[in-house]
Every structure is written in C-alpha cells, then in structure tokens.
C-alpha cells in the first residue's frame, strides 16, 4: 500500500546547490501511481481541496494517456497546478481524506497534479480559449497567488486587467519567499506568461498606497473595481533583547535577499551574510526555507521551535527534507535573548527549554518554560521566522476600508466584498499568512463577485 517513490536529488549533493530537490515523476512512475487511485464514488479527496479540483477525473485522464484532457480538467478549478502540486500541504488537504490513507499511503495527488502542470509547460499546451473583450477595466493589487488567480479568471471573462506589483518582479511570495529548490522561478514565470497571453497587463514597481491610491485608480484611471491581494508581508519580531544586533534578520529579509535578489549568485549585486552558523526561530514552511537556504549558503543551520515535532506547522515533506539535509532541530526550545560580541554582531542565541502544558485556545498544548534550563547555542546569524501580518499601506490610504483587530481587511466571506464599494480582497491580506491554495480559492470567489457586481451596475 506504499506510494510510488519519486526521484530526488541526494541530500549531500543538493545542499551544495539551489536546484529543485524533488525531480518529479517519470511517465512510468506517474502511471503506476495514477493506477493506485480507487476512483471511489464518495470522492473525499475533492472535499479536502480548497478549490475542489476534480481529482478522480484528472487522474482517470492520466491513466488514459490523455494529458490534454487532464490539463483542462484541472484548469476548470485551478490556475496554478505546477505551483500547488509543489507547495500545497497535501497531507492536511486532499491526501488526508484519500480512502487509501486509512490503510497505507494516500495517492500522491500533489505529485500527479504537478506532473500535469509540468506537462502543460513542457508541451507549451495552450489552455486559453480566445476571449472577446467586454470593455470593462479591473485593477488587481499584488501579483501573488491571489492576484494572479483573480486576474486570470476575470481576463477569461473578457475584462481588461492590470495587475499592480510593488516589487520589480511578479509572483509575490512565489518568487521572493519560496526558494528555488522547492519552486523554481521558471515555473512561476510560465504561469505569468500565460496570463500575459490572455491579455493581462502587469505594472511592476507600483506601490499602491504610495505611488498611486485606490481612489486614484477608480476616479482618475477608470477602473470599475479593484481586487486587493496584497498579502501579509509585514514581518513580526519577538521583542527579545538583542534583536537589533548585526546578523539578525527577519525571514522575509533573508529570503528576499536570497530568492528575489539572488544573493546566492556571485553575479548579482545584493549581499547576504549567513555566517558559519545560523539559528532559525520558528517551525513553519518559512522557517524550513530559511534554514535550508542558510545550509546551502554554507552555514551550519539550526531550527529553534517552542513546541514538539508533532506540532511543527511546516509541510511534512519539507521537515523530512530539512532533516535529511542535516538541519539540527532544537525542539521544545524558545529563545530568550540574542547575545552579541563587543562589535555588535551576533555571537549566540540564549534559549530556554519548554514542556507542553494544557491546550490553549488554538487547541494545541501550550509550551511552558522549564525553570533553570537556559542554554546558549553559538551562532553568527539569527533568522526570525515567527510569522507575518498584513501590510498596512493600502488600508492606511484607502478611506472606508475596514480592518479587524489583526489588521486584516474585513470582507464578506462569500464574495470577498470589503466595506468599500467596488473593492474586493482575498488571500493573506484578509486571512493573515495562510497557504497558496487558500489564497487562490478566495481570489476565485472574488473574481466571480466582481463580475456580478460590474454586470449588475451596467443595467
């Protein structure tokens, strides 16, 4: 009842490069795995997918060797299969519900989806039907997974879409956050090129809230509706002593330097300083990405996480990969102070051991410090990866846009409608940091609602 094994770069080799770790299924492996699907009538896997991809159907097409049909079937519900097949936490979504998971391994739905996405790209298969422009303009703010999905859906309906991106490259977290060894930039670029072929325009280096406001876009530039997919890019720090020492990074800075600015490549100008050893604080995907990047930059790399292995929020596959790569895990450990040398550089991180107490409001057992258990880990770099919150730039400059106590934009769950007429929002800007696929699901709802809103206005 084991799933078909998949090719991967050997750990000792891959820690010396930033190339993709998982090599993907060969055609034979893919068919073998697709044949494990029971094609059950109840289809619990579909319920586990936030955008309800018709999983048994696309797998059946794979078995039938009809890859074009498989592409089209996924495209009905998802615009980014090559991305989601790689980065979704399938073990808590589609694959968790798979009937086979009760007695063994679930069908490798993510890997099969990735196969379809990669096939589309490698065969330059065109999924786009010709569209007739309907003469209406919609602005999309942010070119991350939410923005790209909303732009794609509306462009297919004939809308004239411009996506405004603050950075110089499009893709949001897919290009500045998730490293090349998990999601190659070429995969993201392909998806974006597809949108360009659909007629979607991209304006990079435009910071909505500074370069131009939502009011200006609607009043002066003729956009009839706006979708805000600006994400949750504001890093949180721990507020412990020593966080302003040299060598302390937010995970966003560390990953942005390395992924977006390609600091790992000597031909690029942006510097990065991983030191001989780095402690990464946190247990999510971002922490794993930072720890594995630091390792590839030549540093000894530690994860410092306050709960136990079972509670690690990162994808199981990434935790497994990190362990294979020799990342050292200091679990049930919480930093209390970062210590510096006489020149103001990090020399160590002081931690305290934790034990798990009673469950807290999130249902997880609350970590409690063990008295007298403090110890130091000597490191030259500390990366804080404890989470992010929504960037306030857009809400600050858009009158009438209501926020909740977590600074996230308040919306109507079903439509993505905000408290400002004509303005919709979705993804991490609304939910706080979550997953790529949830951002896509939310954006999809908003696209539908924006279409209905503009049509109803016409009458």
């Amino acid at each position: 009842m084991k799933r078909t094994p998949i090719g991967e770069q050997a750990p000792e080799k891959r820690i010396t490069n930033f190339d993709e770790v998982c090599l993907g299924y060969t055609k034979e492996q893919m068919i073998e795995e697709a044949n494990r699907c029971l094609q059950c009538k109840t289809r619990p896997c579909v319920d586990g997918c936030p955008v309800a991809i018709k999983i048994p159907e696309f797998i059946q097409y794979l078995r039938d060797n009809d890859f074009e049909a498989a592409c089209k079937k996924i495209a009905e519900d998802s615009a980014l299969p090559a991305v989601c097949g790689r980065v979704c936490p399938q073990e808590t979504q589609c694959e968790e519900r798979c009937v086979l998971a009760k007695k063994g391994d679930a069908v490798a739905i993510g890997k099969l989806e990735r196969y379809v996405g990669d096939w589309t790209r490698e065969h330059k298969f065109n999924l786009n039907d010709p569209v007739t422009p309907n003469g209406h303009k919609v602005a999309v703010i942010g070119s991350g997974p939410a923005g790209l999905t909303c732009a794609g859906d509306l462009a297919k309906l004939g809308y004239e879409i411009t996506v405004f991106e603050a950075l110089h490259k499009t893709g949001g977290v897919l290009v500045y956050g998730i490293p090349e060894f998990r999601l190659p930039n070429s995969v993201v670029e392909y998806e974006i090129d597809n949108l360009k072929k659909l007629g979607v325009k991209f304006e990079t280096n435009v910071i909505v809230g500074r370069t131009v406001t939502i009011d200006q876009l609607m009043d002066e530039e003729g956009y009839e509706a706006v979708f805000v997919g600006s994400g949750a890019g504001l890093p949180m720090f721990m507020n412990i002593p020593g966080e302003d020492l040299n060598g302390v990074y937010s995970a966003n800075e560390f990953l942005t330097r390395n992924n977006l600015m390609q600091a790992y490549d000597d031909n690029f100008d942006t510097p990065i300083r991983p030191g001989k050893s780095a402690a990464i604080v946190g247990g999510g995907n971002v922490a794993m990405d930072a720890a594995r990047s630091a390792k590839r930059l030549g540093a000894k790399s530690y994860i410092v996480y306050r709960r136990s292995e079972k509670e690690l929020p990162a994808r199981a596959e990434e935790v497994h990969h990190a362990m294979e790569e020799g990342i050292e895990f200091h679990l049930l450990t919480n930093p209390v102070e970062i210590l510096g040398d006489e020149k103001g550089w990090v020399r160590a991180i002081r931690c305290i051991r934790m034990e798990l107490g009673e469950p807290d409001e999130s249902g997880r057992r609350r970590p409690v410090p063990v008295k007298g258990s403090e110890y130091e880990i000597p490191v030259e770099t500390v990366v804080i990866a404890i989470g992010t919150s929504p960037n306030p730039l857009i809400s600050q400059t858009t009158p009438g846009l209501e926020l909740n106590k977590w600074k996230a934009i308040v919306i109507d769950e079903e439509t993505g409608k905000t408290t400002r007429e004509g303005v919709y929002a979705g993804g991490d800007a609304v939910s706080g940091s979550a997953t790529v696929i949830l951002a896509m699901g939310a954006a999809r709802k908003s696209a539908k609602a924006i279409d209905e809103y503009i049509k109803s206005k016409k009458k």
């Binding site: 603050a166 280096n205 040299n246 937010s250 800075e253 942005t256 600015m261 690029f268 100008d269 730039l393």
Partner: protein, 299 residues
C-alpha cells in the same frame, strides 16, 4: 525601464540625474525617497527624492559614488535606463501636512551635510513655494563636495556654506556654523531639519538639543524592499523599534539611537569592499589570477 533624461556632475563624485518616471513624479512630496535598481542583476538601493516635475514626468536624484553600485551608476549616460525606479516611499516631511499658518510661524533651520544637501533642497523649495522663508547651512569636507548652492540660494532666505578644510565659505563643521549663528549672530530657530551622514546627524542633533531646538533627521539606513516587508532598515527611536522605510525616513532627531544605526550600516562593509575591488581590479586580486601566476607565465 526608466530613462535618464538629464545627467550632470555636481562635483567629481556627485551625480545628478533626472529620471523619467511619471507615476513617481506625480505622487512625490518632500521628505520621501525612491528605490532604484540599476540593471537586472543590481541591488535595490534607496535614494532621496531631490526634485520632481509633474509636467515632464521626471524625478531628480542625486547620489555620491560611495560603493560598487553608485560607482557603476555614475557611468550611465543620458538616454540610458534604470531597470527599476519605484516610489515615492516613506512619509513626506511633517510640515507638508501641517496647517500652513502654523508652519509660517516657525523659524526653520535646515542643515545638509555632503550629499545630504540634495534631500534638503525639495523641502526648502516646497516651503519657498508656500511663502515660508528658511535658513540653510550646507557643509562638506571641501569645496568640490558643495552641491546645489545656486539652487539653494534661490529657494532659501539665508544660506551659510561651510567646509571642514576651509577651502570655501565658513571654515568649520556645520555644528560650528550653527553655534556661531545662534551664539554670535543672534539668530534663533524653533525647528531644525538635519540630513547628512549618520555621524554628522548625531552631533548636529546633540547640539540642537543643547540649544533647545526641536529637530527632525532623515535616516539613510540599509534597505532592501523599502515597503516594510523585511525590517532591514529597523532603527531604535525612543526605545521602540521602527522601520525607517515605512515609519520614517524622518524621525525625532533627539530620540534616534545613532550608534546602533551606524553599527547596522557597517554590516555589509566587507562584502561591499570586496565587490568594489572586483570592479576596479577585475579578478586580479584572486590568487589564481594574481600577479604571481601571470608574472610566471610572462617570465
């Protein structure tokens, strides 16, 4: 791509450029800055907005060649383009939003050090356009580093130029000049704006504190994105951590932890130094291509 419409050398190491960027020009206000990337492989560097022209759709930047990127940028000509040019970023200066009658009551002294005179200029010009007369002290190490003197004289009431080595104007530091104005010349001010190297802002702010003048400084920290998503630019102001790019770049000059800020600035010195070496000397400093190896071949 963002085209260079005008380039002018203001000294042997200081360059002025007008960049075609209509959206940025339209939104810019004094006190704000932009992020520039010179080419596809370039780094993102922050530069203060020195002037802007909505009609022409241009933004003026002034930079000094201090490292690898600025040195190569100085080699760009009119007609060349920057890969990215984004902004305006940060908050405009406070007086832009204050009621004009309040602003008019204040006696401003602007202090610009070296290339810091450039970001002082749009502020002085904005105030002039709103009929507020201000005094300006502009200082530099020597005469060659004095910039925008004529422009500043047109925009300000009185301009005091000083050089560290006495090669031009008042002989001494900007702090000596301010002391002279207040203690000997009977001038009084109730608001100071200081922009320049961190060390100069530290000591000038110390002086204005002694003189009891409320002070604003503009911080030139390390930055990456400039939109608040990374915290590379974090500084300690009045005991709280602030991001210079979104909370600033202007802060209460008497509350900034200058020593901490200077320590962070030093963070990439070695990498920058190495890169500069690579530009000027190619790969000759690397052992495999060093003089010994080549010398042996020639010999």
């Amino acid at each position: 791509m963002y085209k260079i419409l005008k380039k002018k050398m203001l000294g042997s190491q200081i360059v002025l450029m007008d960049i075609e960027a209509p959206r940025v020009a339209k939104a810019s206000l004094p006190g704000q800055f932009v992020i520039v990337i010179m080419d596809e492989k370039g780094e993102r560097i922050p530069l203060t907005v020195c002037d802007y022209d909505i009609k022409k759709g241009t933004v003026t930047i002034v930079f000094q060649t201090v490292g690898d990127t600025t040195r190569r940028m100085a080699g760009f000509r009119e007609g060349d383009s920057f890969f990215a040019f984004t902004g305006p970023l940060g908050h405009p200066s406070d007086f832009v939003k204050e009621p004009l009658e309040e602003v008019k009551k204040k006696k401003f002294i602007f202090i610009g050090g070296g290339v810091g005179v450039a970001p002082v200029y749009p502020q002085v010009k904005w105030l002039k356009e709103h009929e507020v007369d201000v005094d300006v002290i502009m200082g530099a190490r020597n005469k060659d580093l004095i910039i925008l003197e004529d422009e500043m004289k047109k925009a300000a009431k009185d301009v005091y130029v000083c050089t560290d080595d006495g090669s031009y104007g008042f002989h001494g530091l900007v702090t000596d000049c301010l002391t002279d104005l207040v203690k000997n010349k009977g001038k009084s001010y109730d608001h100071a704006v200081i922009i320049g190297p961190m060390i100069m802002m530290k000591f000038a702010a110390k002086l204005t504190k002694e003189l009891g003048i409320p002070t604003v400084v503009s911080l030139n920290t390390i930055m990456v994105d400039g939109t608040g998503m990374c915290g590379a630019c974090r500084v300690n102001v009045g005991g709280a951590v602030k991001f210079a790019c979104v909370d600033g770049p202007e802060f209460d000059g008497h509350a900034v932890d200058y020593d901490g800020a200077m320590r962070r600035m030093a963070m990439y010195k070695t990498e920058e130094g190495r890169k500069a070496l690579r530009t000027t000397e190619g790969t000759t400093h690397k052992p495999e291509k060093g003089c010994g190896v080549q010398g042996a071949q020639i010999g």
